[in-house]
Subunit: 408 residues, 2 copies
């Protein structure tokens, strides 16, 4: 079953926003057993939208579209699809009812919002439970075109609760089988060399994909077709034996969730003391629902004054060794453990860049200290010149360092 993703919006073509929706949709479709043939981004232009649908429908079974469903003049997707499928816009009372629910408490109904209740006569209308623009689904010569809002959380809700279940019911695609290993202690190329024999001897139709991130590699072993499950299980067992202790987990979850699960299982509480990561570790940890069961809080001590006053880092340590040092990282982590009254802490201090580097401590230098009850580990990490990448790297490394500590 082949699918294509089409994103509509001039703001994408001028580079004002990065299209993150397509990758998210692609991941969901792939897991549901569909093969993505292509992704396209085109403008708010009726002629172009129609021509693109014609071209793409010749190659795929399913087209998922996002964007251009808003209430303003530049949003023309609904009208264009109506023309394309020879339909006309009619008023739908149930959509208006849903719109009223969606905006109640927020704002009142105006004319433009009310107009969103006009939908093509010959389509399946799917209510948008988290927004005002309805989702539109056309069945067309055995193929499907579904149009969703471009607002990411509205699109995600529609995909998970409506689009994926309906597509699976309609097409029952060959299952996409996969098994994930989260592997630590190897770079991507070192891991590829270590398991080269295994990879070269995989059965026909099996594949192995590497997704590296700082400090770990996600390995995806995959095949298509439910009947191949026994073979997959056999290969999983083989790879598990080869990887041994390097396996951190066998599920496709982010590190912040993995750490959260381990903390919760062990009944441990967590806090962070962040300088160069500026709250990103706390943000990642609390992005997981239920994190209040183990996460108690953080001190973001961006300025030295906060390191001293709240975390009780010694003035002498800051003066002698500088804020980016092993001693200060340790004092931050231990200070946070006391002040937040938690079992475990992650403390970061470093130079995120682009400025602030010195010869001794170039941009990208980060000290991370983790504590687990009375144990304490401090390590120095060196990464590159890019602020955003440095923050993400230090966030990941901090969580992995603690994870390793509590595993033992």
């Amino acid at each position: 079953m082949k699918a294509a993703i089409i994103t509509i919006g001039d703001e994408i073509l001028i580079g004002q926003i990065v299209d993150t929706n397509s990758a998210w949709i692609a991941r969901k479709l792939t897991h549901a057993g569909f093969e993505i043939e292509e992704m396209q981004s085109i403008g708010d232009d009726s002629r172009q939208i129609k021509a693109t649908i014609d071209e793409v429908f010749a190659r795929v079974d399913v087209i998922l579209m996002t964007g251009g469903l808003g209430p303003t003049k530049d949003d023309i997707t609904k009208k264009t699809l109506c023309d394309y499928f020879g339909s006309r816009l009619v008023f739908d009372g149930s959509v208006l009812e849903n719109i009223r629910n969606a905006i109640s408490g927020f704002t009142s109904l105006n004319e433009l919002t009310r107009n969103q209740a006009y939908v093509p006569e010959d389509c399946t209308v799917i209510q948008n439970r988290v927004g005002t623009a309805p989702i539109i689904w056309f069945d067309h010569i055995g193929k499907v075109l579904a149009s969703m809002p471009g607002v990411p959380h509205e699109m995600r809700y529609a995909m998970d609760n409506e689009i994926i279940p309906r597509l699976q019911a309609k097409y029952d695609p060959d299952a996409y089988l996969k098994h994930i290993f989260i592997v630590k202690g190897y770079t991507e190329s070192a891991l590829a060399m270590f398991i080269a024999d295994f990879e070269n001897n995989l059965p026909e139709g099996f594949g192995l994909a590497y997704l590296p991130s700082p400090g770990l590699v996600k390995l995806r072993l995959f095949a298509r077709g439910g009947r191949r499950l026994p073979e997959l299980n056999e290969q999983v067992k083989k790879l598990r034996d080869i990887l041994g202790d390097a396996i951190l987990a066998e599920k496709d979850i982010p590190v912040e969730q993995l750490l959260g699960e381990r903390l919760f299982e062990k009944g441990l509480t967590l806090g962070t003391a962040e300088s160069c990561t500026g709250g990103n570790i706390a943000h990642m940890i609390t992005s997981i629902p239920g994190s209040s069961r183990y996460f108690k809080g953080s001190v973001i001590s961006y300025a030295n004054e906060e390191k001293e006053n709240i975390l009780h880092v010694a003035r002498e340590s800051l003066d002698c060794f500088g804020a980016v040092s092993e001693v200060v990282a340790i004092e931050m982590a231990k200070g946070a453990q006391k002040v937040l009254n938690v079992d475990c802490t992650i403390a970061t201090t470093g130079i995120a860049g682009p400025d602030g580097g010195t010869e001794d401590k170039p941009v990208g230098t980060v000290w991370i200290c983790t504590t687990y009850k009375d144990k304490c580990v401090a390590k120095k990490y060196q990464s590159g010149k890019f602020r955003e990448a440095n923050i993400v790297r230090a966030t990941n490394n901090g969580m992995l360092q603690l994870l390793e500590m509590i595993e033992i």
Copy 2:
């Protein structure tokens, strides 16, 4: 002058990575006066690459490609372009010299890397000063196809230093004119209704685009052609008069940067006290380079214990009103102002979800208190059921609320 961007790589089609290159290229091309007709992402598949070039060249003058230029066997772009243009690969000594320079100090030359010095005979080879894969430029019946590495910093270097200057020299395109207004206090549809007359009377060839986010709308007024600048200025003046106080800024930057600039201009310092946003406000603020000039730190008081012990929220307030209340929000903000020794604070307390809601305080209820010296404002916000969206919304609303306070 029309252009298209084509990204090559299976990892994009399964959603394993988000394509950020295309938006970056689009922004540069747009500013250079080119109109982006479309963006496509396709697989590492020779047949598909050729068919896509055929289709796209029928519509545009310039194709910029990224991806598939690496040294391993899944990288097939160079060979495919060679076939497409009826050329053959020949060894180029100057490319090998550049490769040697690029890797010196890092690693030694191996066979796979050496093979990158083979290039199509009938093309312009552009040296990659920051990597090993050469950039390849084909002139073809008055049109251009240039292929760049997908590694972001290599692509960016090539675009800025080679591709854009060469394209401008060849085509001398008309400028893309735009003006951005960041507008507060309106939903997208309310704003559209408010400025409908203005929008309906725009000169031929002018356009207006809406990009909404929680609490604000970015309005982009645009036209093509340097000679239309006086007309654009006239329309900008008209729209500025209509929007009046609703204008938050007239530049295309994120709220966290806008807030940072205003704080810095006024010589104010900032700290946050975050419960439901879990550090995301601090994270957004510190994502801006130079934020240490105004941001001092935060207390992420996820648990009530931290609200009491570090921020000195009264036990009675927590008991009587609950953690999600006006009183607690105010005490958090004032406590943080003292403990962090800052001029301004943003405090958030709410129910991010999916669990934890009650009839009185459903999921999505958020109290935000901002302080600015001895002033203090507390407001209740109600948003939806989705954790991620609620965190983002509260983050934005908190920054906007403070921005409004310090503007007065």
